[in-house]
């Protein structure tokens, strides 16, 4: 039974992830007074890329060839550690938030290497910027989990969320503060404004796009898809860990319907929120980003202190 739900989660999230990207783009288009492409456009893009021939740089090594597969593989593995519906998905071997963060770090490590691999100046600077931001984000991300871990006495994300869902309402204040830190980390990790602009190819500003500039065809499709997976992973994690209301704590199938509807509503809200926030602010200068990340970190520490006093 729980195996069935887990497999469903592992298939459902990668399937829906391009849709999330589509929604973000659509909302941003509305905010800019454009009609924009349909919300299913990312699916068509992936389909198109998978059926194109590839051009690969001669200087590329096996790291460049392998990275997209590794990235995609790890991105569809990540949801194992987070709850979609409730405690039914709990796995004793996976779900510690430390391994989740380090798997994300592994993805960043290899994409940065492949950015360096072809030896173009764009890729190199993309990697440098990506690693800079990733190095500073890791602390914020890890510390945003910590207050909840201390309240619930576990580092297993699924247990954390389901335990927290039963807490009295006033205990959620530190969660909200931690969420602000988490949200800043989310924007950084998924390459959103103000950290990175996912829809630009301007060499002065691009980070993620600079690293994957040399990719084409199926490998580009895999990387784009992996990024979409990462985005939906962060969205689900954000809404279910910091706002865990309505998560099911039983293994009863009929009790899963309400959490399912609720998670869709919560996730859509957050996605639209991300899109609105992205439209309403400009990209920050690279050297202003550490300040923002540090702010996020301080939010997490404040939350940590609030929780433990």
């Amino acid at each position: 039974m729980s195996i069935f739900i887990i497999i469903l989660k592992l298939i459902l999230l990668p399937t829906l992830s391009p849709l999330c990207v589509g929604i973000v783009r659509k909302v941003k288009a509305y905010m800019q007074n454009r009609r924009g492409a349909g919300i299913f456009q990312p699916y068509y893009d992936l389909w198109k890329l998978f059926h194109k021939d590839e051009v690969i740089a001669r200087d590329a090594s096996w790291i460049f060839y392998l990275t997209p597969f590794l990235l995609f593989g790890l991105s569809i593995l990540l949801p194992l550690g987070i709850p979609l519906l409730g405690s039914i998905e709990s796995l004793s071997f996976f779900g510690d938030f430390i391994i989740t963060i380090y798997l994300l770090a592994t993805m960043t490590f290899f994409i940065a290497l492949s950015g360096l691999d072809v030896g173009s100046a764009f890729g190199g600077f993309g990697s440098s910027r990506e690693m800079t931001i990733a190095a500073l984000t890791e602390g914020t991300l890890l510390f945003s989990f910590l207050p909840i871990a201390l309240v619930t006495h576990t580092t297993n994300v699924i247990l954390m969320a389901t335990t927290a869902s039963g807490l009295p309402f006033f205990n959620y204040l530190p969660f909200v503060i931690a969420f602000m830190g988490f949200f800043i980390a989310l924007m950084a990790e998924t390459g959103r404004i103000p950290f990175d602009n996912p829809s630009t190819h301007l060499e002065l500003t691009m980070i993620h796009e600079a690293m994957i500039l040399e990719y084409s065809g199926k490998r580009l499709a895999l990387i784009e898809w992996a990024n979409a997976n990462k985005f939906i992973f962060f969205i689900i994690l954000g809404v279910n860990l910091f706002f865990p209301w309505g998560l099911s704590t039983t293994a009863n199938l009929s009790s899963l319907l309400f959490p399912f509807i609720l998670v869709i509503v919560k996730a859509t809200t957050l996605i639209v929120g991300v899109a609105i926030l992205e439209s309403s602010m400009a990209k920050l200068r690279l050297f202003r980003l550490p300040d923002l990340l540090l702010t996020g970190f301080i939010f997490c520490v404040i939350s940590l202190i609030t929780v433990t006093i």
Binding site: I98, Y102, F109, S127, M131, T154, V301, L304
Partner: protein
């Protein structure tokens, strides 16, 4: 059992003597390395045996000197460190056979082999020594033999300078250790560790405090803690690479071993503040070590700075362990100390792998500057894979061993944050914060180190001519790379055994650890956390294979065309247009400008100095300030010079004046003796 250990010592001694005998014939120089391999193999078997049986061996050979006994004591903790020494010495010696050939014409390999074997012996003896005087004796042999290995390339001025810094620092450390042992002797009346252990509680509190601080400084200098670490990047980069791997992987762990042995076994029930001090030193060392590594472009100084970082991570484990002991929470202390010990083993493995990889690159390119490498992954494919494994492991990424020990360290720090006192809580928060930033920065640093060295195109003619190194070198690197993965995936097995070692300490007898392993899964009770590395490894492999399979099904018909990199329509890209290591880390250096104090200096030479439009040449010098050297060591050095100059004035060369000195001294002594 014991005989195996003595046989190993005998073999190593034989190796050192034979090395001197055959020194004329460079073709036979491999013989001493074979002896070192055999000796370390015996020590390895011995240590595994001792760990399985959990036995404690004690032997005392009396000597004619009072207070000086050759007293050997091998408890499971010592056996664990013998395991680390021999586990690294084995591949390092094998590597040495192939690596030392390049020096055959210029330097005397016989003397090298002699000191190399003596160094291995001294490492084994220091771990087993149980008498303070005898310990100092072998400790000194270890320091001196390693010094001679560091200055092996003695025709280079830079290397002599490095050796000198190492010499000064290691003896300053020994002075502090000596002071602490003399204080212990003063108050317990014995140099024997066993007697000291029994009488330590009777020593006055102030003296205890001084002893603890002296030990932290003394052993910490050897381990490479900030701010006493300055010798480490010099010495590690000067020595031949397999010696660097031994020094960084093993020798600095001897300092760690002594801290573990002293604070957990010989001088137990340490005060709470000691835990704070160790934890804060660990946190600061880890973050500063990795930051300085980021600014480094020398392929051997970079991992040397990472040693400082990893020593910091080990001390985070030890420090939290000491705090938990003082708080009477032995089960958490056992978790923290297990984390520290496991990271000691892991760091030994991946750091020696990285040094051996760096050595292979240097032997092909004849430079240590990573700005001159590039594209080596195609020329040296196996070295590249092994170096990548080391880089991934040291960055703490799953499923390699570095991840597991960092996970354990995180778990113990989190348990500390859950304690009630606000002071302890904030210290643990500080430690955890430093550890997370360290992890991220280490990954950035190794993307730089691996990417600039092995990826893209060659940046110099030397690196274009590089070829893969000889199989001997590859085998030794490969062994360590496989170990990195095995220690990560089968960490449950290793940790179960380390737990036994910790349980064997009298401090923890009949206590249960909050870390337990059920089957192949690790479990921390306090935080309800599980880690099942074999399954995680399997899941990762399956999912990556799955993405291969799916893509194959969808788009197997699509072609792959090879073209040159997009050059924006200009002529072909040259290596000059690739990003450099300096450029890569410049963003982070500017972000941490408070620590680095980066400087930028332009020098422009004009064709005509009056018309400043056409420049003939342009130089930009980017610099950073080394804050310890600038604010601690230079003032210290200058102060010492000034004082020395003042004191020199009493040396007038006039005989009468010297007679006056003697007279005054005599008078003083007489007065002193009278009252």
């Amino acid at each position: 059992m014991q005989n195996l250990f003595f046989t190993s010592l005998l073999v190593l001694t034989g190796g050192s003597i034979i090395s001197l005998i055959v020194q004329r014939d460079t073709k036979l120089s491999y013989v001493s390395s074979v002896f070192s391999m055999f000796g370390s193999l015996l020590a390895l078997i011995f240590s595994i045996g001792a760990l399985i049986t959990q036995s404690t061996l004690t032997t005392t050979l009396p000597t004619s000197f009072p207070m000086f006994n050759i007293s050997l004591h091998i408890d499971p903790l010592a056996a664990f460190f013998i395991l680390i020494v021999s586990l690294i010495a084995l591949p390092a010696s094998l590597y040495g056979i192939g690596y030392m050939k390049q020096y055959a014409k210029e330097y005397n390999l016989g003397v090298f082999g002699f000191f190399y074997n003596i160094f291995l012996i001294s490492l084994l003896l220091v771990i087993t020594a149980h008498n303070a005087l005898y310990f100092l004796f072998v400790w000194e042999i270890m320091s001196l033999s390693s010094l001679f290995l560091v200055i092996f390339e003695n025709k280079k001025l830079q290397i002599i300078k490095s050796g000198f810094i190492y010499f000064i620092m290691t003896h300053a450390a020994t002075a502090f250790i000596l002071l602490s042992f003399l204080l212990l002797f003063q108050f317990t009346g014995s140099f024997d560790f066993e007697t000291i252990k029994q009488h330590f509680a009777s020593i006055p509190f102030v003296i205890q405090t001084i002893i603890f601080l002296c030990m932290i400084i003394g052993f910490g200098t050897k381990a490479g803690i900030v701010p006493f670490h300055i010798w480490l990047p010099w010495a590690h980069s000067a020595a031949p690479s397999h010696v660097s791997s031994l020094m960084s992987g093993v020798m600095i762990k001897i300092g760690i071993f002594m801290l573990f042995k002293m604070f957990l076994d010989i001088l137990p029930q340490t005060p709470l503040w000691l835990g704070y001090v160790v934890l804060i030193i660990g946190a600061v060392s880890s973050i500063l070590g990795v930051l300085y590594a980021l600014s480094e472009h020398d392929i051997k100084r970079l991992p040397a700075y990472h040693s400082i970082e990893n020593i910091g991570i080990i001390l985070l484990g030890l420090g939290s362990g000491l705090i938990f002991i003082a708080l009477k929470q032995p089960s958490l202390a056992m978790l923290a100390i297990t984390a520290g010990l496991f990271h000691t083993l892991n760091h030994a493995v991946f750091k020696s792998l990285l040094f051996l990889g760096a050595g292979s690159v240097i032997s092909q390119t004849h430079t240590r500057n990573i700005e001159e490498y590039g594209g080596l992954i195609k020329l040296m494919p196996y070295t590249a894979i092994f170096f990548l494994v080391g880089a991934v492991a040291i960055s703490g990424l799953p499923p390699f061993n570095g991840f597991v020990s960092e996970w354990l360290t995180f778990q113990s720090l989190f348990s500390g944050i859950a304690t009630s006192s606000i002071l302890i809580k904030s210290i643990f928060i500080f430690g955890a914060a430093c550890l997370t930033f360290t992890g991220g920065l280490a990954a950035a640093c190794f993307v730089k180190a691996f990417g600039i060295t092995f990826l893209a195109r060659s940046r110099s003619i030397e690196s274009e001519k590089a070829t893969e190194v000889s199989p001997l070198l590859l085998i030794s690197m490969g062994t360590l790379a496989v170990l990195c993965l095995t220690l990560g995936v089968f960490s449950f097995f290793v940790i179960t055994n380390i737990q036994l070692i910790v349980k064997n300490l009298s401090l923890f007898s009949s206590k249960t650890s909050s870390l337990s392993s059920t089957g192949i899964s690790l479990q921390v009770n306090q935080n309800v956390a599980h880690l099942n590395m074999p399954v995680i490894f399997l899941v990762m492999a399956v999912f990556i294979a799955l993405s291969f399979g799916l893509v194959y099904i969808v788009s197997r018909k699509q072609k792959v065309v090879l073209r040159t990199v997009w050059d924006c329509g200009f002529n072909a890209l040259s290596p000059k247009m690739e990003i450099t290591a300096t450029g890569f880390s410049r963003t982070l250096i500017l972000i941490f400008r408070g620590i680095f104090q980066p400087s930028k200096q332009h020098e422009i030479e004009y064709v005509d100095a009056d018309i400043r439009y056409f420049s003939k040449s342009k130089t930009v010098t980017l610099g950073i300030v080394n804050i310890y050297e600038a604010y601690l060591y230079y003032p210290l050095h200058n102060g010492l010079s000034i004082i020395s100059k003042q004191i020199r004035k009493i040396q007038s060369g006039n005989v009468n004046q010297y007679l006056l000195y003697i007279f005054i001294l005599l008078l003083g002594l007489l007065i002193f003796a009278r009252y």
